[in-house]
Symmetry: C2
Subunit: 390 residues, 2 copies
């Protein structure tokens, strides 16, 4: 059986595919650029007033004279009329400077009398209050590099330079196959021996955080034939997530079904709790995760392992990893990594009560998964631990 770091390394080594495509800019927030974006235009596209005020030629103003206001230019319009020496033009924020003008005085810094303005601005210098053409971006110069994470500000920036689509790393197609004869849907009354199916809910909810809607969610009949059919049907997806049936019980069909579907096993079983029966395999480019059926184990394995494969597609981490002190002491077996439901309190990682893997109520309260490392047995308050914010 392998340890968690080897398992993670093996997943990463087998992530050999990314998908790159154009997206309309408006849909591209939170994606990562697959290639650099070059500015299609100079921005500002013209010398632009940064203020409401008056535009004039600084050098041709004799500093003692009043300036005759000869016209007006609003944002969105333009003026062809040349501004002559000792003339000015009324101008508004965002408007282009008319020919001849190179400086804007703010409206708060003048007095006006019979169409003549007197400037009272000791700080004023040539070029004041003017945003020069191309001073934000220059045409054909890189605006954003490849691998840039598109925040709302990035989207705004690109919209402002006239970019309307971007090449980004695409989300993978993900299929979910839930197995387990004991599972029923919440709209059924619970019968003898049955429990409510919850893994598809957990996986759909966590995928939503990556803005991924699974291409398929199905419940396979709990026998080998139906499991094989379900797997074969989903092999066009980039990632197939199965839950349940990966232990070695007499009714655990998943691993044998995967073998019969020619999925190559990369690992099966990891020295960890929960999630020991975790399976990872591959067929062509399709990555296959066999997650344990236990809801807490399935979700923990998603956070710790499936997220690695998804991150490789979308080129970003969605869950933050940190190393912080432990808030309470804990004793565990050596030789196996424990993933504990935890909560960050005052900068420390608190191990919550009710860690039994079937108890989802403590997981529901958790805001992090605390990793208690394999080799260590006794954990003291204050010991540094790795956590994954969820």
């Amino acid at each position: 059986m392998i340890g968690i770091n080897e398992a993670k390394r093996m997943i990463l080594e087998n992530c050999d595919q990314v998908k790159v495509d154009w997206l309309p800019l408006i849909n591209a927030s939170s994606y990562v650029l697959a290639e650099a974006v070059y500015s299609p235009i100079d921005t500002p596209p013209f010398d632009q007033s940064a203020m409401d005020g008056y535009a004039f030629s600084y050098d041709q103003w004799d500093k003692n004279s009043k300036l005759l206001v000869t016209g007006e230019v609003q944002a969105g319009s333009f003026s062809d009329t040349k501004v002559h020496p000792n003339q000015a033009i009324r101008i508004f924020t965002g408007a282009p400077l008319p020919p001849g003008a190179d400086t804007v005085v703010m409206q708060e810094k003048i007095s006006i009398h019979e169409n003549h303005i007197t400037i009272k601005d000791e700080q004023l210098s040539k070029g004041s209050n003017v945003r020069l053409c191309g001073s934000q971006t220059k045409k054909n110069v890189m605006a954003l590099p490849g691998n840039h994470f598109l925040t709302p500000a990035s989207i705004s920036f690109l919209a402002g330079i006239g970019v309307d689509k971007v090449k980004v790393y695409q989300n993978p197609d993900i299929s979910i196959i839930v197995t387990g004869k004991e599972l029923i849907n919440a709209d059924h009354k619970i019968g003898e021996g049955k429990v409510y199916e919850s893994n598809s809910f957990a996986l759909r909810a966590v995928l939503k955080q990556f803005n991924i809607e699974p291409v398929s969610v199905e419940m396979a009949e709990d026998n080998e034939k139906e499991t094989i059919n379900a797997i074969n049907k989903q092999m066009t997806s980039d990632i197939v997530l199965l839950t349940g049936g990966v232990s070695v019980g007499d009714y655990d069909f998943v691993t044998t079904a995967l073998e019969k579907c020619s999925v190559k096993k990369i690992f099966h079983k990891v020295r960890q709790k929960p999630g020991k029966p975790l399976y990872f395999g591959k067929k062509d480019h399709t990555l296959v995760f066999g997650l344990p059926g236990n809801p807490a184990s399935a979700l923990t394995c998603f956070y710790e392992y499936v997220s690695i494969a998804i991150s490789n597609f979308i080129k970003r981490d969605i869950f933050r990893r940190q190393r912080i002190p432990l808030a309470n002491e804990y004793v565990k077996k050596a030789g196996i990594t424990y993933f504990m439901k935890g909560k960050v309190m005052d900068g420390e990682a608190l191990i919550l009560k009710h860690q039994e893997s079937y108890k989802m109520n403590s997981f529901a309260e958790a805001d992090c998964i605390i990793e208690l490392e394999e080799d260590k047995e006794y954990f003291q308050k204050g010991d540094p631990v790795n956590i994954l914010m969820i």
Copy 2:
């Protein structure tokens, strides 16, 4: 003119509305529960085996005898056959214990010979490897409290106890009205005096982080009449965001248009840079933000102010606030708060270059907004500052 804290307080004071409604559980991830959820059933709904193994009655086993295996029960099925003294039944993880059995021995801890098992498990005690009925949740007992933030684990937990819908705080309806005669869409060629419209892109992108799709996005003609029409049309929304036209220039129609639409001004102008002309008003329950037209100012005001109103609806913060040391020194004017485009590097907040409010390229690189407080003029490396992670 008011300061930023007074502005924030005035927004909060005027947030007097929340919307509560039922959502199907599968769509409820990242929402906050508006009321506690009570478990409809005991879970596990029966005494359940936690292992693949053999179920028997611990007290009726004489500890020396082998146990006769009389049958089998898989997960998803059940057995009515009573397990008699010195008998056992083959059982699988998740299956209900048959009548008479109270303990499960793991399959790894027995040897089997001609239908009789010999138990070799020194740790075994009465009730071992059994999840008792109701040991996770008890019927009609609170499963999750009101105001609980629904993580994927919470969704999984609720699905597992048979909850299929939840009452949550709903997203507000938000309308966006963009003003500015100089604005054109990216599918047009840029003409004299025109610039590409980007505020609607920024606002839609940032709202997407709250999973909010605006109910309406429109560009109003830049005159008072059309601005009034646009505002009146959107007054059924919970929040109306306008961009542009909130300064006091001759072509700034928005504040007068809002007045003519009977929107009550709560404040106009804040001692801050960027975003000085920020307007906030209210009509009936509709909150109205007049954001500056400058893209960096508009987005900064969204992060700092509009987010307060949205958070009050959805009962959670989406942007993390932190207080960390400044990475570089800075000198600013006293008497005004500066919001700087920043980046967290090695736990310190770095003020990025190119802070001019029209330069969106530095905002595109930023991962935080650094608040440089109003009264202070000189900021040294290491000074603690408030940041908002974006």
